[in-house]
């Protein structure tokens, strides 16, 4: 089951820090992160990859982006 991190409306580095906290808490699994800027999307993706999580999906929507990251 996925966990959702809603970082919409927050500026960097907060979306990254929220994602990292969730990554550390879970260790593995699937996290869905909502962000609203290109910069946050890039920074969250980079942070996830630096922790050996895969960016499985990025969807653009009206309010920004929804990223799905995974680690098995």
């Amino acid at each position: 089951m996925s966990v959702i991190v809603d970082a919409g409306g927050l500026s960097c580095p907060q979306p990254v820090l929220m994602t990292l906290d969730k990554i550390k808490e879970m260790g593995k699994g699937e996290i869905i992160i909502k962000v609203d800027t290109d910069t946050s999307k890039e920074n969250v993706s980079r942070a996830a990859q630096s922790q050996s999580w895969d960016v499985a999906d990025i969807k653009e929507n009206e309010t920004g982006y929804t990223l799905t990251i995974k680690k098995e």
């Binding site: 960097c12 580095p13 907060q14 990254v16 820090l17 990292l20 906290d21 910069t39 890039e42 920074n43 980079r46 942070a47 990859q49 630096s50 922790q51």
Partner: protein, 180 residues
Amino acid sequence: MSFFKRLTSRKKKTETSCKADRGILVFEHTSEVIKAESILKKAGWNIRVMGPPPEIRSGCDLVIEIPLIEKLNILRTLENIGTSPMEIVPVSSPLLQPVDLFQNKDFGKYLMIRAANMKLTVEKETQTIVNISGGGCPDVPYLASKMVGMSLNEAPSPREIGHTLCGYALQLAYEEMKRR
């Protein structure tokens, strides 16, 4: 060090400290300023990176302030590394500090330092760089890709791998973070 070298290095400090006859080196690209600053500081010159006076300012420029009396020696040092300024201008009005303001934000486990338009965030416990953002310069994604996930001590210095004013600002944030 020979007697002659000691004499000239003492003279260098005296001339700089009294700020007589200052001049600025104007380069075509910020990356050249960053490179020249690194080389001149390594060579022992007391120089500073500054913003140019308003009358010659054309955007986000940086210049290097030098003691004019040492112009020829400094130019020779730069020629040796294949870099030459476009212009050497005597300073007749105040220079602007390119970055004179640091801001910190403590997120508990993480510390962010902002220098001008660049933000560097580090996990306090491990000293790992967790985020680099800000700027809008083309080399920011590259800088982030090279530095995020590495510890402050392992990460390459932005001065070495950056090419823009953002790289320069990130270097200041990086030095300030290391100093803490």
